[in-house]
Symmetry: C2
Subunit: 315 residues, 2 copies
């Protein structure tokens, strides 16, 4: 179905369209006029359309050529950005956001809205260990994580800023015993089955839920393979005895007709602390902009009536 376009050919097409003459385009690309002629001919054969009308004083775009031209330019733009994304030196700011639907991802969307000119590459690493390693190696510029896991303090060269406390909510199906509640105290969750597949021991999120369990006497089951959030939501919706935790700012693809309920948890409200981590010596100019943006836009923390593990860094 797809044609093996190659970008040199596309570049040739754009150069020829701009120049209006194959010769000039050839000079610009430092190839011969015959090479340009051949490339264009091949492109036309691949597309099945005539792109230029050859005249005695050059080559003019056909209507098909005019239609193709802006797409060709866009293609070159995107290619340039793709290459730039892995260029060492001035590359887009690389930020790790835990998951694509997390609150950190929302913060980055906000940052992108107010700074649309700053190029970003958003990615999702496994845990804080790999994130810190990636930051120290320079592979990424910043990471949103809960810091720090007990017994594993942040290295000296890593700086952090507490940027968002995200309230946890209980997610249940319509037949769950708590489905009708407008909110639920943490203590009332004792004895209920809370299912969170995909928790990997040793990660900072596992440490968070371990502490939560210990503090309030909950039971969280992490059994079974993690088939992704869709499967999780399906199961929660269909199983009256099962609930799960979810960040209050998580963006869900809400399955229609499932009747899922998001129920705030209170007394106290467990909050998941997101901090921004970065390397003290990272000179990326956009990093300072991001820090300033987050410092300016994020609300206060440690609101009374909330809970976080005591190993969480202050701000």
């Amino acid at each position: 179905m797809d044609i093996g376009l190659d970008l040199d050919t596309v570049r040739t097409f754009v150069a020829a369209a701009d120049a209006g003459r194959f010769q000039e385009a050839a000079a610009e690309l430092t190839v011969t006029q015959q090479a340009v002629s051949k490339r264009i001919a091949v492109l036309e054969r691949k597309l099945g359309v005539r792109l230029f009308t050859r005249t005695a004083r050059g080559a003019e775009l056909t209507i098909d050529g005019q239609a193709f031209l802006p797409h060709a330019r866009e293609l070159l733009r995107v290619a340039e950005r793709a290459v730039a994304s892995v260029r060492t030196g001035r590359r887009p700011l690389r930020v790790d956001v835990l998951t694509s639907r997390s609150a950190a991802s929302g913060l980055m969307r906000g940052f992108h809205r107010t700074h649309p000119d700053i190029e970003l590459d958003v990615m999702t690493l496994f845990d804080i260990e790999t994130a810190v390693a990636a930051i120290r190696s320079g592979a990424i510029d910043a990471s949103f994580r809960a810091v720090a896991v007990p017994g594993r303090p942040l290295p000296e060269d890593i700086a952090s800023l507490r940027v968002l406390d995200e309230s946890l909510e209980l997610l249940t199906g319509p037949a769950h015993a708590l489905a009708g509640a407008r909110s639920v105290p943490v203590a009332r969750l004792a004895g209920h089955r809370i299912w969170m597949p995909g928790i990997v021991p040793g990660t900072e999120w596992a440490a968070y839920y371990d502490d939560l369990v210990a503090e309030f006497g909950l039971t969280i089951e992490a059994t079974g393979p993690n088939f992704g959030s869709d499967a999780l939501l399906d199961t929660i919706a269909d199983t009256p005895a099962l609930a799960t935790f979810m960040g209050g700012q998580t963006r869900l693809i809400w399955p229609a007709g499932h009747g899922l309920r998001r129920i705030p948890v209170t007394d106290p409200t467990p909050v998941y602390p997101h901090s921004l981590l970065w390397h003290r010596d990272n000179p990326h100019p956009a990093l300072a902009t991001l820090r300033a943006h987050l410092a300016a836009t994020t609300p206060g923390h440690d609101v009374p009536g909330t809970w976080t593990p005591d190993w969480v860094l202050p701000h």
Copy 2:
């Protein structure tokens, strides 16, 4: 400076990233595993970065690979649309808009806002002759034009709909005699030098200004080569004795500090009539949508106090 990426390689990269194993990607692309390995190796050498970490049970993306992946996907999307833009059959709706800054272009932007799902290719043809020929040949689907030049009625198979009457405004520099006026009656323009380079005899816009000149005794100079709107604006701004006409909805790149004035023309206000033209038998589904959109959103015409040539089609 740019690297000769080719899209087959990019496709291979995406397939390998999705599959997690070169073998599976190879099967999907119906090439051998060795070919995939080679392609990835070449891509990594070109980019100067390692994209995968090879393990015993497959290949995992490095951080650089993760950063590159969304750009690679975007590249393939754009490529697909580029190819689709010249595919006969279901291709984007092709609309000719006179110039990229014309009122018709604004109408298309509005259409795109309310129907972002409909793919469009907007282009600018020379005059109504070529537009009609392109419509009849199927090369384009619709055109915004003033119809019809006297003596050249629309062919039977071309339908039209009057969609917008655009008031003409006078554009002057700050030192022009009329620069201070809030509006100016057409009759007061007699004797003033109005300069509109780029008018080509025989086109429908030339016919429009010919009629305007004849009706109100104006003098329009079309002399001199047309160096584009930037050069025109520069000259108008610097020359007290010169003014030009401009569509009231034209989007200008307003040069800073030029002090240009746009002055409405009255008694009557000359309006430039934009009609949508299309082929009666054109089955493109988006064409009907566009017609309905325009019929619903465009205001009435032939407002009292306005003027159009008498050869303009009624609606």
